[in-house]
Amino acid sequence: MGGVCSRKRDQLVNEDIIDRVVSGKYCKSGSSKWLGASFSRAAVDIEQGKRKCPSLMELCIYKIREDLNKYSTFSMLPRDISQQIFDDLVYSQCLADVTLEAFQDCALQDLSLGEYPGVDDFWMDFVSSQGSSLLLVDISGSAVTDSGLIHLRDCTNLQDLNLNFCGRISDQGLEHISGLSNLTALSFRRNNAIMAQGMSVFSGLVSLVKLDLERCTKIHGGLIHLKGLTKLESLNINCCNCITDADMKPLAGLTNLKSLQISSSKVTDYGVTFFKALHKLALLNMEGCPVTTKCLESLSALDELLFLNLSRCNFSDYGGEKFARLCTLKVLNLGFNEISDAVLVNLRGLTNLESLNLDSCRISDEGLVNLTGLQNLKYLELSDTEVGSNGLHYLSGLGKLESLNLSFTVVTDGGLRKLSGLSSLKSLNLDARHITDSGLAALTSLTGLTHLDLFGARITDSGTGYLRSFKNLRSLEICGGGLTDAGVKNIKDLSCLTLLNLSQNNHLTDKALESISGLTQLVSLNVSNSRITSAGLQHLKKLKNLKSLTLESCKVTANDIRKLQLADLPNLVNFRPE
């Protein structure tokens, strides 16, 4: 099952870097992020750390940042320039409340202050001074209170308002935004104070296209106020366990809905019947809802349905034949259900499928024969299933396959030969304890591989020799304990690497760091649980793109790393120990 210790933490660190588009593998309750898990991880890549020449614009903006106190106002500048200066100051965290005055009459359009430290009611005066030019306000994670929202009344053209994680906002605050009839996007994630009564203002927000109320605990009964919002295309009420079937009724007439997310709610098959007329519905997320295959009857008439997430719904094989009618589907997530090969028979006709997730289902080798016709499959998730080497034979014809996850399965080296013809493969997860060096040997033809996860596989130094074929590798994880410094030498020419995890190879010494000292594209490095010491840190000096460094359980202290950060690695934002 998902690994313990440093692996999970690595994944969290990677999340920071990949900007919260999570892999989904370890995020067991990542319902609202599941789309990230549906497609090839290769498509979601860590930012390539290439350094291009800064433009003159950028140089000037940095200069302004340096001399900030020399400027009393930017109102003489064209708006798009003052907007860029503002955005840069937010990005570099140089914007203080005293600086706000300089932007008073700049007619800014965009105030993206999400999670910016110190934003409170005092800032709202500045927000309202931008008046009718303001199109977007993001004050998520701020300390703004209900009375702070009064200032938004002047922003009559506001289209996009993000109040996620604003713990001080309640029904009273909603009152103050009731007049914003140009609002198209509104977001109130994780709010425990908004209730049905306050939500009555939504009925006046007639332009609303996108509404996000994820993790709001008290909104039961409030969706009735959405009834007339016929322009609504996207509604997210994931993880609102107060939501029941009754709350689905008012959605029945919202025929422009394209995306509906109700994961971890109490909606049952009966609630899903209200979706029958939502003919434009393309995405439906019901992860963790108490539904059964019966709900598929309500969905079979929806010919635009492309994405369906039914993971953790306690599905059994019973009624599995109903899947056969969902032939428009491109993405199907059935992870963590008690389904077996019998259900897979019904997926044979779903030839539009590009992504299929069967994580932790009771699927075995024979079940995979039903996938041979799914020629559009790009992403296949078989982690924690009973699939072994024989099953891989059925995958050998899937010419478009880009991402395959066989972690925690019983596949062996012999089976991997069947994958050698899948030239489109970019991402391969072979974190399985029967995989050894010979398995790697069988894969050297897959020169397009960019992500290779061999976390718990039994790879030794001789196996690393085969890695040289993967010249495009960006992400590599080998944490089985079998590597020594000699093996790491074979990695030193993989110049595209941005993520490298060699943790738990406790024979590695500072010499290993010497070998990788030239991998200047590295953004994330983990060599925890090894014999690395602080003397080895000098080898990391050239890794200017490094943002994350993990050296837990090594003879390295947080101070050692901090010194390295100050002297040589300005981009290092995450490090452990800290």
Partner: protein, 98 residues
């Protein structure tokens, strides 16, 4: 420098800066002016006038062009900007798309 490889950039006050074409093309705006067929008179004479850009600023911009080519070839140095020039320089950079 051969004439075919150079362009002439003229400031508001009439000062002429003769620089390598390669340097001038660092600016997307100048690049478009010099390469698009027939739409600009500039292509014929290899001259561009900037009535809104002062001499001091235009000089600084030319310095930036050469600095940028040097940077791209691996020599990364600092580009110094006098504080009193910053705002004007920024507006010119915006116009020149550079």
């Amino acid at each position: 420098m051969k004439k075919e490889d150079t362009v002439k950039l003229i400031s508001a006050e009439g000062f002429e800066f003769v620089i390598d074409k390669k340097a001038a093309m660092v600016s997307q705006t100048i690049r478009n002016m010099l390469t698009s067929p027939g739409s600009f008179a500039e292509t014929e004479h290899g001259e561009v006038t900037f009535p809104e850009i002062s001499t001091v600023i235009l000089e600084k911009i030319c310095q930036y062009f050469y600095w940028s080519l040097q940077y791209a070839s691996g020599k990364e140095t600092e580009f110094h900007i006098e504080p009193e020039l910053t705002l004007e320089l920024m507006m010119a950079a915006n116009y020149l798309h550079t």
